[in-house]
């Protein structure tokens, strides 16, 4: 490279001051923005969870009114799904995908800026509804009509904010597809891509396929409420159950959007700390693709109680049970990767192992829920709440945290404090189980979900769960402290960081240069 070109590179460094973050088109800056945004929303959504758990600490209405309670459950879900897990994945993708495929940046950098900056405005609108006449949305994040049509002034703002989040997700997904398709280093064939790249590639297609479906569903709600249509109004010839079919046609692939990238993260981390290649790479790819395909034909298992015809119930039961096969393949592959490796247990590995165990517990309850005749007992009880929190919190979120620990030294150039990291893992793991495991019991004993007050026989386990919730919530402050400390200093990280790590990200310096690969590496 001649001197003039080097000079030009320097002019492409970050803009000074705050405008760096507003105008940036750099994949690392945008990744950082996404991750911090998600982290802030994690605490906001967590605060709502703590309000919910505080009310449920004891029987009897003690802190909030039922209407506000419903607003909290609804907003907690919307924020955790759209504001925490999805942006965190996109943040990790922004930071790492270009580096992992050997590219200088994302394929569409200006759109990248736009897709991030829509988010704070979308959530600003959504959160502002809490202060409107009639309060925020209170019909559950699933927005089932006719109940959701009883929402007050918040309704059009809610729909608009969901549209904005959808636009942001679709743009992010298009960018990821474009980057993976076009910017891979020479020699990196599809079947040589790291698993995190593969799972995100498939996730991006799921997003492009289903986010417009959600947009359509909420737009129909909007016209039903304000323009006199009757899509979901039985009195006008519409069908309230049709909304549920459309919603879950989005909603079930969405479930896999929330977990597939975590599968990818764990598939990166376990081989590194086992010092052994990932077992069954190609079966991992095919399993991910199968799960994605199956996710489109299982949606009605969320609605076994709506009164579907018998044949429909049988079909959705069988397809849902089938998901256990590729999911099982993944778990077996992870365990086989560890088998006869030479393991060490740094914090990312601990979170990855926690993921495998607790996600599998969530998978087991998922299998139980798949069986229609017994689902009638589980449906809309705390058993379901326990199930999806097991796959989402010690599942998806543990995966994200594992990824953050794994790459934090690469991002900052400093090692994080391992002792603090281990404290974070053990407190999180102990409390997350105190929080969610008792929910299986109250659910089986007959406690419905989404109720602000309950019969006294459910009191003991609810009190235990609330203690777990506060413990888990406060444990996350450790992560905040750890990340800030790591950004500000610490032992210098080597380029390799982890002894057993493989992949292009470890060939770059820690922290990597502002433009990742200005010369494409060649994969042999």
């Amino acid at each position: 490279m001649n001197a003039a070109a080097t000079e030009a590179d320097h002019h492409h460094g970050p803009a000074p001051g705050l405008m760096r973050w507003v105008t940036t088109t750099n994949h690392k800056d945008i990744g950082t923005l996404y991750l911090w945004f998600s982290f802030i929303m994690f605490f906001i959504g967590g605060l709502m969870a703590l309000i919910i758990r505080s009310e449920l600490f004891q029987p009897g209405l003690t802190i909030v009114d039922p209407h506000f309670f419903n607003q909290m459950t609804t907003m907690h879900a919307l924020i955790m799904i759209f504001g925490v897990v999805m942006p965190a994945f996109v943040g990790l993708a922004n930071w790492m995908l270009p580096i992992m495929v050997g590219a200088p940046d994302m394929a569409l950098p200006r759109m990248n800026n736009w897709s991030f900056w829509i988010l704070p405005f979308g959530f600003g609108i959504m959160l502002s509804t809490l202060f409107m006449d009639g309060g925020g949305p209170a019909a559950g994040w699933t927005l089932y009509p006719p109940l959701s049509l009883q929402t007050g002034d918040a309704f059009p703002y809610l729909i608009f904010s969901i549209h904005m989040l959808g636009v942001s997700s679709i743009m992010g997904a298009i960018n990821i597809v474009a980057t993976i398709m076009n910017l891979r280093a020479p020699g990196m064939t599809f079947m040589k891509m790291p698993l995190f790249v593969w799972t995100w590639f498939i996730t991006a297609y799921l997003l492009i396929a289903v986010m417009p479906v959600l947009a359509g569903a909420v737009t129909m709600l909007l016209t039903d409420k304000f323009f006199g249509t009757s899509f979901f109004n039985a009195a006008g010839g519409g069908d309230p159950v049709m909304f549920q079919h459309i919603f879950w046609f989005f909603g079930h692939p969405e479930v896999y959007i929330l977990i597939l990238p975590s599968f990818g993260l764990v598939s990166e981390i376990i081989p590194t700390f086992s010092r052994k290649r990932l077992f069954g790479y190609s079966s991992m790819v095919y399993a991910t693709a199968s799960i994605a395909f199956l996710s489109f034909i299982v949606w009605a298992h969320h609605m076994f109680t709506v009164g579907m015809p018998l044949t429909g119930e049988l079909f959705f039961m069988f397809t849902t049970m089938l998901i256990a096969v590729p999911t099982g393949v993944k778990v077996f592959n992870w365990v086989s990767t560890m088998w006869r490796g030479a393991m060490t247990f740094e914090t990312p590995m601990l979170f990855a192992l926690g993921f495998v165990v607790m996600f599998t517990i969530g998978g087991f309850s998922g299998l139980m829920l798949a069986m229609t005749p017994i689902d009638f007992q589980y449906h809309d009880t705390y058993f379901v709440v326990a199930h999806f929190h097991y796959v989402l919190v010690p599942g998806a979120i543990f995966g994200i945290i594992a990824g953050v620990y794994y790459w934090l030294p690469k991002w900052t150039g400093n090692m994080y404090n391992e002792t603090l990291g281990k404290w974070h893992f053990w407190t999180s793991t102990v409390f997350v189980n105190i929080l969610f495991f008792p929910m299986h019991f109250v659910g089986l004993a007959g406690m419905p979900r989404r109720i602000p007050d309950y019969a006294v026989q459910f009191a003991d386990f609810n009190a235990i769960a609330t203690i777990g919730a506060f413990g888990f919530g406060f444990s996350q402050i450790l992560l905040l402290v750890l990340v800030i400390k790591c950004i500000r200093g610490g032992d210098k990280a080597t380029d390799q960081v982890w002894e057993g790590a493989q992949g292009l990200e470890w060939t770059l310096s820690s922290p990597p240069p502002y433009h990742s690969f200005s010369v494409q590496p060649v994969i042999k």
Partner: protein, 378 residues
């Protein structure tokens, strides 16, 4: 090493022992076995799947923890280099598939049975309302509403000063139970008047949504006399947690007796609408009917919830034209949560409510509305 291996196994065993045993009353851990043939079948299937999951879990986690203990660098482990095995990968695709088929067959059989509600002896139409249940015995014409009982309602509000632990069957008791005979096939027809609700009694292992514009079907056949409690299981708004279900299963003789009593009571109620009522009687009755029919939204103090449910104190409806007031009570207001109460209130109840609303909380219009006026405007 053997000892270390035993620890997780023993722990799991202890957890399972607790899981499968019938637990202490306040620490119910497991699904109820219930009181019908179907509910016992469902319970057995639940236990079967649970045990299959436990066995798979013990194997997978056992292998994983063995590996974690033995294959660590600090123990001097040297990583192996294998990274695929056709035999293993085909094996753990095919074996789970076979296990799934073993699970799916009895499930399909049970489902077919559960969805067959033909040849029923009694049909009860269940209509969900925000936030109470309406029951109509299609064969005998018995018809009534069932709402949360007063004791729970009063103890359940914020700062009620009542210890809810002292309320018997807190949130699980109603003013009017549904009475059904044992040993008869009872068919439920489910629909809704407003939003989606779900009718669920765990002891029968049946749950189905009540959806406006739909009539869903399900059935049960109860073996043992007793009182069985359940709750609404689909988020239906503010008071979703406050619309329980209480079913009392009795002998056939007692059931027939009860049906007779209900029919006689309904006739007496219809007759009382023709007499002239005194204001005090209407106010007294109005207060209690208001508490079950209106207070959930408009609140016991008539203030409503700002922005969600309008207040009635000094409202133009309660102070204005009497006929307009009766009209909104009987026919509701389109496009709002104010439903038509005409079908669920007798002439006397409607008259009492309107009288009460026009004179309570300092509204003091002095208007007395007679049941005969309601009758005319229906």
């Amino acid at each position: 090493m053997k000892n270390i291996q035993r620890v997780p196994g023993a722990l799991l065993g202890a957890i399972l022992l607790v899981l499968s045993g019938s637990a202490l009353a306040d620490w119910q851990l497991n699904l109820t076995e219930g009181v019908t043939e179907i509910s016992r079948e469902v319970y057995d299937m639940h236990m079967m799947v649970l045990w299959i999951c436990v066995v798979i879990g013990v194997l997978v986690f056992g292998a994983m923890f063995y590996s974690i203990l033995k294959h660590r660098k600090s123990q001097g482990a040297v990583p192996a280099t294998f990274h695929e095995s056709m035999v293993a990968e085909v094996g753990w695709t095919v074996v789970p598939f076979v296990i799934l088929i073993v699970m799916a067959l009895p499930a399909a059989k049970a489902l077919i049975k559960m969805e067959d509600s033909s040849n029923s002896d009694i049909t009860i139409k269940v209509t969900g309302h925000q936030w109470k249940w309406e029951y109509e015995y299609v064969d005998s014409g018995v018809h009534f509403f069932s709402s949360l009982d007063t004791a729970s309602r009063e103890a359940g509000v914020k700062n009620s000063g009542v210890d809810v632990n002292s309320v018997e069957n807190y949130l699980l008791d109603v003013d009017n139970r549904i009475i059904v005979p044992v040993g008869k096939k009872i068919r439920f027809l489910l629909t809704s008047n407003d939003v989606i609700h779900a009718w669920w009694v765990p002891a029968f292992a049946i749950k189905k949504d009540a959806i406006p514009g739909y009539i869903n079907e399900m059935w049960t056949n109860i073996d043992e006399e007793g009182v069985y409690r359940g709750q609404c299981a689909e988020l239906c708004g503010k008071d979703h947690g406050y619309m329980p279900i209480v079913v009392e299963a009795v002998s056939e003789e007692r059931y027939n007796e009860w049906v007779g009593e209900q029919i006689a009571a309904a006739e007496a109620e219809a007759n009382s609408a023709d007499k002239k009522w005194a204001m005090d009687d209407l106010m007294a009755r109005g207060e209690s009917v208001y508490a079950t029919a209106c207070a959930a939204c408009h609140q016991a103090n008539g203030q409503g919830i700002p922005g969600v449910f309008p207040g009635l104190v000094d409202s133009p409806i309660a102070l204005g034209d009497v006929k307009a007031h009766i009209d909104i009570v009987l026919n509701g207001k389109a496009g709002t949560a104010m439903q038509a109460f005409g079908a669920q209130l007798s002439d006397v109840d409607a008259a009492a409510i309107v009288t009460y609303e026009r004179n309570a909380w300092g509204n003091d219009t002095g208007d007395v509305v007679q049941p005969s006026e309601i009758k005319e405007l229906r």
